[in-house]
């Protein structure tokens, strides 16, 4: 870890205090875990604290951890919560980045506080994570689907959503309109997902 990252890590530890659930440094990037309950407060500090000053929210995306470590032949062993929002922040004044994980407490009804009042750029990203993963951002002013079709059912990026989807669309000549019906094709795996022992390929 170089001096700059160490300084950032130390500042994050001090400033975020109890809301910080973990801090990892990997490939020159710092990832912090923030408790869902303290996310709003932590976000304000991340943006406004003079030692951090993350003015720009670059990205927010959902992650579904339920299949972590799975392969075609064996199941993984993920013990943690299922859904997380991953936020990438950038500070132009300090020229550093940080990645924040916020795990939603409830796997059935994942809810995370919206930070749209802190970084307005998060508006569409939260809509996207809601659309694709079904994570509900509490306090978002306009939580609609964004990428999927109007009236789409399900959250397609969840790991239990099949790649080929659940419904297909065709034109029905008798009804003279487009109808939805269950998919007729099968999910085809050309190269199986393989997860080997730790040192493989190193």
């Amino acid at each position: 870890m170089n001096a700059k990252l160490e300084k950032l890590a130390a500042s994050l530890r001090v400033i975020l205090g109890d809301n910080l659930a973990g801090l990892v440094e990997h490939v020159g990037e710092i990832t912090i875990d923030v408790k869902a309950a303290g996310w709003l407060a932590a976000a304000k500090l991340l943006r406004d604290h003079p030692e951090l000053r993350f003015e720009q929210l670059i990205d927010l995306c959902g992650v579904d951890f339920s299949a972590y470590g799975n392969s075609e032949f064996s199941a993984g062993n993920w013990q943690g919560k299922r859904f997380a929002a991953v936020v990438h922040l950038l500070s132009l004044s300090n020229n550093w980045r940080v990645r924040v994980h916020i795990f939603a407490e409830d796997d059935e009804m994942p809810m995370i506080d919206s930070v749209v009042d802190i970084w307005p750029s998060v508006n569409w990203y939260e809509r996207e994570a809601f659309d694709l993963f079904g994570v509900i951002f509490v306090g978002h002013p306009d939580l609609r689907r964004i990428l999927c079709d109007y009236g789409f059912i399900g959250h397609p990026f969840r790991k239990d959503f099949p790649l080929v989807g659940n419904v297909e669309m065709r034109y029905d000549p008798e009804l003279k309109r487009v109808v939805y019906q269950p998919v007729s094709m099968e999910n085809r795996v050309t190269i199986p997902r393989v997860n080997r022992e730790e040192s493989y390929g190193a």
């Binding site: 995306c61 972590y68 991953v86 307005p120 990428l147 790649l163 190269i191 393989v194 190193a202």
Partner: protein
């Protein structure tokens, strides 16, 4: 007199200035936009989900199809993310080739921008001029990768192959549309290597940029349509997540090539243009100047690449394929080749975010691996997504015709926004 109510207008998804498939629901008071609600997703292909089902190498060509106006820049972010997780060293020559092709890509993108933005708001001519130069640039793509657009040229660990020694030649058409002399003229600068052709292009290019500027920069109509339109302050630009020329047009000096240099950008000599007023016109000027700076970078890369031969892809056979000859003569290399193209390489568990200064802004790939031969999660951070999200705020209070100017200035391409 009855009170006139606001009415709603559907703009797109089939409209020439919608740059593809944007459905824009505009709430209008007369001709003034009160609210703009972009509906996106008509081109959503779930690239990120598809990548989860493919080995790392197979996800690479999807990158070309994101922002299909700047193909290799997208690939660059992806290979950088994979390399970061693998801890892979890239040969210097490959880094120079990547930087050179990133800048060629920037020219491709900005030429498209100047042409299309002009076309959107009534300046037909510039489009014809910019597409003349795009033809030469696409020929460079073709010479190096075999494809004019979807190159799939970068690889984790380097680039697919070294620069070719010959350029493809024009041939006389069967219909005899061109005389033998016309064909010879078209081939005049194609007799040397690809580097000779690029070098020749960098010499010609500054005068071409002057031509576009003659057509637009002092054009009264162009200025009436762009000056003072879509003004955004530096503070709002930061808050709205704008990047690239959108933020530099507002006077924020921020360019990843300078501030967080990757590959060999720290060895390059170039300047970062910034705007003053943060309107469409300043962003246009920034992009035009960026073309001139890109030309400088390409020139420096050509000079270096001429003098320094060397490997262009990592020699780590766990990631990069062995040479064709080696594969046929050596058992070990045959096994490596077989494993690499059936099972693919495994990436150690962890997560990485790699960002490049894409022609449109910051383009990043967030890659999470659980140690398998396929990504666990890949997120594409497309700059256009954040720009379009700012549409509502920037369009309010403008006339409906200015919405078209705004879309031109965002330089939106739906391949990357909808992913």
């Amino acid at each position: 007199m009855p009170e006139i109510q606001n009415y709603t207008l559907n703009f797109g998804p089939q409209h020439p200035s919608a740059h593809g498939v944007l459905r824009l629901v505009l709430e209008l008071d007369g001709e003034v936009v009160m609210r703009a609600d972009p509906h996106i997703g008509l081109l959503h292909r779930a690239t990120e989900k598809l990548a989860e089902q493919k080995i790392f190498l197979q996800a690479l060509p999807y990158m070309d199809r994101l922002d299909y106006v700047s193909m290799l820049s997208n690939e660059h972010a992806y290979v950088m993310a994979v390399e970061k997780l693998l801890g892979l060293e890239v040969p210097v020559r490959a880094q120079y080739i990547r930087v050179m092709f990133d800048e060629i890509t920037r020219l491709l993108n900005h030429l498209f921008y100047v042409g299309a933005h002009g076309l959107d708001i009534g300046a037909m001519t510039a489009f014809l001029y910019t597409f003349r130069e795009r033809e030469d640039l696409l020929d460079m793509y073709e010479a190096v990768s075999g494809a004019r657009m979807h190159a799939a040229y970068y690889r984790p660990g380097g680039v697919y192959r070294d620069l070719p020694d010959t350029m493809p030649q024009y041939e006389a058409a069967k219909m005899k549309a061109h005389s033998a002399k016309a064909v010879a003229d078209m081939n005049a600068n194609r007799h040397g290597s690809l580097l000779d052709f690029i070098d020749d292009f960098t010499r010609r290019f500054p005068t071409y940029v002057d031509e576009y500027e003659t057509l637009l920069t002092d054009n009264r109509i162009w200025k009436q349509r762009t000056v003072g339109i879509g003004v955004i302050t530096p503070e709002r630009a930061l808050a709205l997540g704008l990047t690239g020329a959108m933020i530099r047009g507002s006077g924020v000096e921020w360019d990843l090539r300078k501030k967080q240099p990757y590959e060999v950008y720290d060895k390059m000599d170039f300047d970062i243009p910034v705007g003053v007023n943060g309107d469409c016109y300043d962003r246009y000027l920034v992009r035009v100047e960026e073309m001139r700076q890109s030309n400088r970078i390409i020139k420096q890369c050509v000079d270096w690449l001429r003098k320094n031969p060397g490997p262009v892809i990592s020699e780590n056979l766990k990631v990069a394929p062995p040479s064709r000859v080696g594969m046929k003569e050596n058992m070990e290399e045959l096994i490596h080749h077989f494993k690499l193209f059936t099972e693919g390489f495994h990436v150690p568990p962890g997560e990485a975010y790699a960002a490049v200064e894409h022609p449109k802004g910051e383009f990043g790939i967030y890659l999470m691996s659980d140690g398998a031969n396929k990504p666990y999660r890949m997120k594409i951070r497309a700059s256009g997504f954040a720009h379009l999200a700012a549409m509502d705020e920037m369009a309010r209070g403008h006339m409906i015709a200015d919405v078209v100017a705004l879309m031109g200035t965002f330089d939106i391409v739906f391949g990357e926004i909808d992913r």
